[in-house]
Symmetry: C2
Subunit: 277 residues, 2 copies
């Protein structure tokens, strides 16, 4: 693991690290914020998964999570959104496919399957690396994310509920296998058998019996992707007759940007801290 940068912030440390990923067969970069409390003791770890076109850096620059994470004593890990490098397949002019658009799944179709194994990366390889290198209490993990990363957080929580005590999302893609803007990527990554796409779709997972105690979702009503890509009402519908708790908050005037995310970041960090302590 190589240290790319380390900066003191809010009494803690914001670091950026790089390592050779076996899962993705590529060099991967990720960010970790270590709160001051983690000098003395193991602290809970909260995973933040980013949206389409992002890297680890967008939320690090614009997410405004450090002040509250330092106050609550949360370690925040922010992975990249896809494998990177010259030998990694891509669709240069398509922001919904390839680099920056890994959709937190393990691709099965060539050429994507050579590198696009973000599900394994985020659920197995990176947690092992984090556990080895930081003062984290791996029995207290939460996960959240934005847009494609909200999809990632919710599907990962539903698929591995034993690992997480909390999950939340900003403007998540709750049903990517049926959304115009993500279904084409699912076909390229996973093949034409739509039944296989359900393993990476929060609504389908719930329909197929997956469970997680409760979710917090914030969604801006001025989000231009609301009707075609995000559709949180589908998740509301999916959990209706289950024991899954859902706090869905719709906000007038807020869009899809980090201005929206940063506004509600404190609420999400508190949501997780309550369930991780």
């Amino acid at each position: 693991m190589k240290v790319l940068s380390q900066n003191t912030a809010f009494g803690g440390m914001q670091g950026v690290f790089q390592h050779q990923s076996e899962a993705c067969n590529s060099e991967m970069t990720f960010a970790v914020f270590v709160p001051p409390q983690a000098i003395a003791e193991k602290r809970p770890v909260l995973w933040y998964l980013s949206g389409l076109t992002c890297t680890h850096q967008n939320v690090m620059d614009k997410g405004e999570y450090r002040r509250m994470a330092a106050e609550l004593g949360l370690i925040i890990v922010c992975p990249d959104t896809s494998p990177r490098g010259d030998d990694v397949a891509d669709e240069m002019t398509n922001w919904q496919m390839g680099k920056g658009a890994g959709f937190y799944l393990d691709a099965t179709q060539k050429p994507w399957s050579d590198h696009y194994r973000m599900y394994s990366y985020v659920t197995e390889e990176l947690p092992a690396l984090i556990a080895e290198n930081f003062r984290v209490d791996m029995d207290r993990q939460g996960i959240f994310g934005h847009s494609m990363g909200g999809h990632g957080a919710m599907t990962i929580a539903l698929k591995t509920p034993e690992r997480f005590k909390s999950c939340s999302a900003f403007a998540p893609i709750v049903a990517p296998s049926t959304a115009d803007w993500s279904a084409p990527a699912f076909e390229k990554y996973l093949g034409s058998d739509r039944a296989l796409w359900r393993a990476y779709d929060a609504c389908a997972l719930v329909e197929d019996g997956a469970r997680f105690p409760e979710f917090l979702i914030d969604q801006g009503k001025a989000d231009s992707f609301l009707d075609n890509g995000l559709r949180p009402w589908l998740f509301e519908e999916a959990v209706k007759d289950t024991d899954i708790g859902l706090t869905l908050r719709l906000h007038e005037r807020y869009d899809h940007s980090y201005y929206f995310i940063s506004t509600f970041m404190d609420d999400h960090l508190r949501w997780h801290a309550e369930r991780l302590s």
Copy 2:
């Protein structure tokens, strides 16, 4: 005035605007955060001046000022750091001169004097535009900034104390006319007569009799520019036998970055709000 973007954040609005500047003879971009309180009433305005290489955008992305500004009801205006455009003189390979390095002065030397009139821009033209277009209480203005922008804030407060009720700085260049990294720019902008440089140097201004009630300065001790460029102890020395108040705080482990700025942003906003209300 052209609207480049407007996003809802923390109940208020973060906007980016462009206009043709007469002072700089160039198109200029600036950011304004309007807190929710400014819908109902005129609010105090706080000017943030950015450092070398920055535009209006760095602090907008990384400064983390919106949450507290919304709480305190402060309008935050963030100008660019120099004129821009293809016809504006520049030294492309020198980050301490030309574009991104206007030093908040009015250049007198060709070719710089054609556009580099940031002092007039920030003290006259932009305030008039802001007063005309936003619900600002121009009787309640504060000013702060980072590095070169800390220099800008302190010199402008000292030169126009009647305009401001408060001034603070993050890692300011307190004596740019004698610092290795800024003196060459001063010579190009202002000519070889060093006596004329004193009008844009906080320490020299105080020595020459300029006064402002009090300053707050935060400075990281791990800041790599501390000894050659910033030297806050020179300002401490300059105000020693005056009635100017100085709160100078040195912080272990903090560097020159926005990780440092964002950490102490809340403190600065509170400092200003106390003096503006």
